[in-house]
Symmetry: C3
Subunit: 277 residues, 3 copies
């Protein structure tokens, strides 16, 4: 399998400035918008009923993040997912804290019926979304990426989604393919919204090219490369969050090429392991 390199996709984001509509939580709207701007994309937070659906037809990709799902946002999210699916647009689901919290768990199930093109979360969220666990502790994962691979595979096979799991080594699952991206800084876990904004970047990157998997991988590669550079010059989590934006805006091809990406085939269906191909 040949992935389009992150350097190409990063360049296409800067050139085309994809418009990403975001229905996301109040904690991270600002950082998400700034991050999209930093990479050359264009953000728009359109999260009200009567506009959210319509906007999926104007934008290049849509993010639906369940971090703080008010009743208005829940209805807008369903409107957007339904419109996006019907029109064959790229949309990304980030099921923040599903499993342990009931309202968003129900919403996530409803949203799945509109077949998200990409699902992005931490291990506990992916496991819970697949109905195989109870979710993490608040917004944090209590499971490892490895433990979530089978759940991701199940989600991918059921909904046709690409599933991205964030963790020490990120894993992206499409059917029987797993792509792993190593590297990146642990300081990303100390900046609220770093994970949530990744969902928006995935949307931007996935919209640049017909090979969506390559876009999802490229977003993770950009994160790994920029976070390492920001970590090298920061003096704590505050400056890290700010420098991360600077470094995303300044990524070079060499920075992106340095990140290690590996592809492997795993066992089919939900019979984990065993049947390597």
């Amino acid at each position: 399998m040949l992935l389009i390199p992150a350097r190409q996709i990063s360049g296409e984001i800067r050139e085309n400035s994809p418009l990403v509509g975001c229905i996301t939580n109040t904690v991270v709207t600002n950082y998400t918008a700034n991050l999209l701007l930093a990479v050359g994309a264009a953000p728009a937070m359109v999260d009200i009923v009567g506009e959210a659906g319509l906007f999926t037809g104007v934008s290049d990709a849509t993010l639906i993040n369940l971090g703080t799902p008010t009743p208005e946002q829940r209805e807008a999210a369903l409107e957007a997912a339904s419109f996006a699916h019907a029109a064959g647009r790229i949309w990304v689901l980030d099921p923040v804290a599903v499993g342990s919290l009931p309202v968003r768990t129900d919403l996530a199930k409803d949203l799945l019926t509109h077949l998200p093109v990409v699902i992005r979360g931490n291990a506990s969220e992916i496991i819970a979304l697949a109905g195989k666990g109870v979710g993490g502790r608040g917004v944090d994962s209590s499971d490892s990426v490895g433990e979530a691979i089978v759940a991701a595979q199940a989600l991918s096979q059921t909904y046709g989604s690409i599933v991205a799991i964030s963790g020490e080594v990120d894993a992206i699952v499409q059917g029987n393919t797993v792509v792993r991206i190593a590297g990146g800084s642990a300081l990303l876990t100390k900046v609220t919204g770093a994970g949530c904004a990744l969902g928006a970047l995935i949307g931007a990157a996935a919209s640049t090219n017909k090979d969506i998997l390559s876009g999802v991988v490229a977003a993770h590669v950009m994160y790994a490369a920029a976070s390492e550079k920001a970590a090298a010059r920061c003096t704590g989590p505050g400056t890290f969050g700010v420098y991360f934006l600077d470094e995303l805006a300044a990524l070079t091809d060499a920075d992106l090429d340095r990140i290690s990406v590996s592809v492997e085939k795993i066992g089919a269906g939900d019979t984990a392991g065993g049947m390597g191909q």
Copy 2:
């Protein structure tokens, strides 16, 4: 025409600490509040029904920004605009993304009946608000400032508002007068909320003095001066956004005097050009 210099208005903001009530979008509340604090003003985000109207009588100016207009905010915005107008208070309308998105477009029309003292937006928003175009792409402008001058003049004549158009060279229109402010850094377009926070600063500056036009101009001059200084020392959009606050807090008279402001008379009514006076 003699404008009160920005140095004087900037000093009055620091001295009097005008209180600016903001009904604004969830993406930019934090940056808007920090920016008001940086210049010496006092922010308060009072955007719920039953308080928003009342608060226009307590505050020195009110900003109504349509970035993420939930049903609660829409009702609060109408309440605030109505109270502010009835009491002769300064209020600023920022019609984010009107034209292309229906809910906020309807709201903007309703708000106009309460005669905003200042209208602030990018070229596409001003054109759409004047009923002369369909709006931009998401929150971005697809028109130039020059193309929006006639629309701004029409709005100014119909509603009695001062209309400020953000772009490469900002233009502020009051009747047949156009004030242009050159300079400033393009990095302002890479920080989400820079435009939205300008609306709040306009409110603060316009409240310091009876000559409201001078206040609107001064806010733009402060932006131009501080953004140039921040751009000179930043390493990307993340640090730019942070340094911009520092530089706003540290503006000197000399910094402000350096920004070029020009005033001209344009043709009357909607017969663009031609009839220079």
Copy 3:
């Protein structure tokens, strides 16, 4: 009276990573979450009806801040306070701008019936909450900490709460005991959400140990120590806000020991002064 030193409580926060559920205003969610992460705690903004109450049983502490109380948040706040009180969990009330604004003033009264473990605010808010004044100017205090001591004592005696008053010298009142924490930088008043995020940190610190008063004091000591270090190296309010997070993450025992804490007994009941014990 012997307080557990801030160095011990700060260490326990890093070790145990208490989970703090926050129902707070849209202006400060991001900064609050980043600040909790900086000290080693875990934030989760769970502010919708049907989840907020439930989450008080999962988290170690709950903050209810009245900065932008939408109808949904108001109902969620009452749900959370009721659940937290019934289960004997730590919850902190931050009555932002009560007194002058009616909706949140009514809400605050309703919330008091669920007996907040800690109440935190500026002098005007504490005075207004105790029914002894009309509140400040917007979110700012127009009273001094000294003037609020008697009101704090009344609140403490009526509701059994520990009452923390922010100002030039912070004061924390429990019954007839007043703890004063000197030091800290005035730049804290130039970063929106610094006060609101303190409420969340109080929750984290108070949850680490059975001696809640020591936790509340420790949160203030951490603020004083980190803000002084951030002020020493910043170039304005923008960088101050960022460095403050860095310095919170890097606090040493020596930094914390340097902050002066004094304890005194004051007159009983609401007969101010006079009856010193």
